[in-house]
């Protein structure tokens, strides 16, 4: 089997680890992390790539629903396969059930992983990202008073407290340094920090062609992905 993998680089280490142990021929392309903040653009980028792919047995997506970025995405010449997950958090945790156990009560809680720290996202990047500007940059651009207002609005609190951040540590992937950076950032912001064990289960399944329909959506040519608006199915065929 020969698969084309298109993935967010939040999974770079996990996919490289699993790919090195896969029996199949994989051609892997990573796209920048954080593009879920502009789902329409991400969808367009993904669709362009998918449409151009031929000569593979399937296109495997290292994406979940990702802020609706994959809603409406159509398979090209070959089937398209993606995990049924709202976002990378569920994929990093290895199952929807685990995601529900940890996040059903407060889905707005932030999370981190090696990929988040290494590739930056709104929580770590001070760059161009929509939610991103670091506090110092905000002060420089808008002045102290507005900067504080913007910062507070972008860091929502519940009952006056920031939500804890959960760092997802996958045993096979070295993460001490990333975890330390995530913890330091959480301390800086006055956020509680906690660690949960993740799993390569879904990523392995994706790359190994082990696509149980309860966990993966297989989109044949001519069909597309549609978001469901629930926690069980998440996406279905349109």
């Amino acid at each position: 089997m020969k698969y084309k993998v298109i993935s967010c680089n939040v999974f770079k280490r996990e996919i490289e680890y699993a790919a090195a142990r896969s029996p199949y021929s994989l051609e892997i392309e990573f796209l920048e992390l954080g593009e879920h903040a502009r789902p329409r653009e991400l969808r367009r980028k993904l669709q362009e790539r998918i449409d151009a792919i031929d000569g593979f047995d399937a296109v495997l997506l290292g994406y979940g629903l990702c802020g609706t970025a994959t809603d409406g995405l159509a398979a090209g010449k070959v089937p398209l396969v993606l995990p049924r997950s709202h976002d990378c958090c569920g994929i990093l945790l290895g199952s929807r059930k685990r995601f529900e156990e940890l996040f059903a009560d407060m889905p707005s809680s932030p999370f981190g992983s090696v990929g988040f720290v290494e590739h930056g996202d709104y929580y770590f990047s001070d760059g161009e990202m929509l939610f991103g500007d670091g506090y110092a940059a905000l002060v420089e651009q808008y002045g102290e008073d507005d900067a504080r207002y913007i910062w507070d609005a972008m860091h929502p609190k519940l009952d006056g407290r920031l939500q804890p951040i959960t760092f997802i540590a996958i045993p096979e992937i070295p993460c001490e340094e990333a975890m330390a950076r995530c913890r330091a950032r959480a301390d800086e912001e006055g956020r509680a920090f906690q660690v949960e064990t993740g799993s390569l289960r879904l990523i392995r399944g994706l790359l190994a062609g082990n696509w149980d329909e309860s966990e993966f959506l297989i989109v044949p040519p001519g069909r597309s992905v549609r978001q469901v608006g629930d926690w069980n199915e998440i996406i279905r065929l349109a």
């Binding site: 802020g67 889905p107 905000l138 972008m154 609190k157 519940l158």
Partner: protein, 207 residues
């Protein structure tokens, strides 16, 4: 004579002290309150909202513009109340349970206030009980917002709960679509804050 162009520019640039000064001067000069809103602040918020939709403005710019508009509204609100101007209606608005993101919800609230609605802001993480409090305070329309695909499903429960209770439920937020609104039987959906005002106008006209 009010410089509406200067007022619009101050709102768009998020210069809240300038907005407050221009609005106060307009009030002192006996300017028509409706003109301050309709020719100054509301078109400015519409413009920044449209820019944001076109990726020409970022969240911080949107936030300070809304803050500036709020500074102007705060000066106008007591006068509006004293003038006995009839409210357009009462809307209770909140971000759904599990979701703490309120930037979009706040924008809708501010646009509704500017358009003459009484807005009960229920805040974030609203469960059905919280929305019901808004109804008890006289709201005939409930506005539900969500930013996440994980929190959007709660809208279905809110819509189902208020079905046949004489309250209309409208929904919006980044992952929400017209198709989803239709599927769960919501009374309306809007893609942005400008559209939300039009939507609520039309719902109350036909009510």
């Amino acid at each position: 004579m009010t410089d509406f162009e200067a007022l619009r520019a101050a709102v768009i640039k998020g210069k809240r002290n300038d907005v407050a000064a221009i609005v106060q001067a307009a009030i002192d000069g006996g300017e028509d309150i409706n003109l301050i809103l309709d020719r100054g602040m509301i078109p400015a918020m519409r413009e920044i909202g449209d820019k944001f939709s076109r990726n020409e403005a970022y969240v911080p710019e949107l936030l300070i513009a809304a803050r500036a508009m709020q500074a102007g509204l705060a000066l106008l609100e007591p006068l509006i109340a004293a003038s006995g101007r009839k409210s357009m209606g009462k809307v209770a608005i909140g971000t759904v349970k599990g979701d703490l993101h309120d930037i979009g919800k706040n924008l809708v609230a501010i646009m509704l206030k500017g358009a003459g609605y009484d807005v009960i802001d229920l805040g974030v993480n609203c469960d059905i009980t919280k929305y019901e409090e808004g109804v008890k305070q006289g709201a005939t329309i409930i506005g539900c917002s969500s930013l996440l695909t994980t929190t959007m499903p709660y809208m279905k429960e809110v819509v189902a709960y208020f079905k046949d209770k004489g309250v209309k439920v409208v929904i919006g937020g980044a992952p929400v679509t017209q198709a989803y609104a239709d599927e769960i039987g919501a009374d309306g959906y809007s893609e942005d804050a400008n559209g939300a005002v039009k939507l609520i106008d039309s719902l109350l006209k036909t009510a």
